[in-house]
């Protein structure tokens, strides 16, 4: 496992120095995240819980009919995504896996990316991993995707010709446009971003980053984004999951 995952990039943050984005936030924003009665992300978790038990699709099935009580069965699931879908022979994000369940098992139309329903279900599932360490398993099936994600992370892109690593590995902790640059660990997705005034996925945030460096953002669900998700989750392995987080 160690041999597969060895990194040739000296820039990477040493394990001991890794900190979640919540460490870079103000006390007040952190308090918003830590209080379930004040965290706006919990509205999506609440809706996701309702959707979990609602029968839908040609099969007339609810998530609960196969998966039972999410508090038990979904424990750790979000902290282990993206993962390899053997049937499809490719890497899938949590949102994609939920949507595939909709089409394959419930016989319902797929849920659109960033739709209220998909985000609610993702938030509800992700909530069940809160407090657990991120665990990404890399084997010969997922190694190529990890490598592709790592390459994207280190590649200069966009009109500003910046690579993710230049801000988030080499300059984390410094100020950019009035805020502190975090280390870019996806410890809390899907999360409530104050800028969005709503809950959104990691892919939405990555697209914001790409717009920020004036690069053409990949489409939702694009393999480049899922691979980048995998690399970022792997880079954050061992860190505790915080979903649904709050971020500026």
């Amino acid at each position: 496992m160690l041999a597969f995952a060895a990194s040739a990039f000296a820039d990477e943050i040493p394990r001991a120095d890794r900190r979640s984005g919540s460490d870079f936030m103000s006390r007040e924003t952190r308090a918003m995240q830590d209080d379930d009665t004040a965290n706006p992300g919990m509205l999506w978790v609440l809706e996701g819980g309702a959707l979990w038990t609602r029968k839908t699709g040609a099969a007339g099935r609810a998530c609960a009919d196969c998966h039972g009580d999410a508090r038990a069965t979904m424990k750790g699931v979000a902290a282990r995504h993206p993962s390899f879908d053997a049937a499809r022979g490719r890497l899938v994000s949590l949102e994609q896996r939920i949507s595939f369940c909709r089409t394959d098992r419930q016989g319902a139309p797929p849920l659109a990316y960033e739709s209220r329903e998909l985000l609610a279900l993702a938030a509800y599932v992700a909530r069940q991993s809160r407090g657990l360490p991120i665990e990404i398993a890399i084997d010969q099936r997922t190694q190529p995707f990890l490598d592709a994600g790592r390459t994207t992370y280190h590649r200069r892109q966009g009109q500003l010709n910046l690579a993710c690593s230049q801000c988030h590995d080499a300059n984390w902790g410094r100020q950019l446009a009035g805020n502190v640059i975090p280390q870019a660990h996806p410890t809390g997705y899907p999360l409530y971003r104050l800028e969005w005034q709503g809950l959104g996925s990691l892919q939405r945030r990555l697209r914001n980053c790409l717009v920020g460096i004036r690069a053409e953002p990949y489409e939702y669900g694009a393999p480049e984004l899922v691979q980048l998700e995998l690399y970022l989750m792997w880079r954050a392995r061992g860190m505790l999951f915080e979903a649904p987080a709050v971020r500026p």
Partner: protein, 106 residues
């Protein structure tokens, strides 16, 4: 999604001052934002929030566009008797949501 999260203690001592937290899903469109082509996006906000305790209004708030999306309001009331607390949110475009919570006062 008219879901609301209400945090009220299930039980309280008679005369105790209890804190109530409410959170409701709403975009609170200010009416000051414009689309990329310059068209004004019309205002669509929650205008009023009220709490009644066994039918008597004990708290009311008038909201303006400056209240954040997914309005969060915290207030207090005295636990006078057991019964039902009702929470009403009303606003633009006929928005109207009511939720209630029971309280046991001993």
């Amino acid at each position: 999604m008219a879901s609301a999260l209400i945090n009220v203690p299930e039980r309280a001592k008679r005369g105790e001052v209890i804190e109530i937290k409410t959170l409701i899903a709403h975009t609170m469109e200010t009416g000051f934002r414009r689309t990329q082509l310059g068209a004004l996006i019309p205002r669509d906000i929650i205008r009023r929030f009220a709490c009644t305790y066994n039918g008597t209004e004990v708290f009311r708030a008038e909201l303006h566009p400056a209240i954040s999306a997914n309005p969060f309001i915290v207030f207090s009331t005295i636990a006078v008797e057991s019964g039902t607390l009702e929470f009403h949110w009303t606003g633009d475009n006929g928005f109207s949501v009511t939720q209630s919570a029971a309280i046991l006062v001993e």
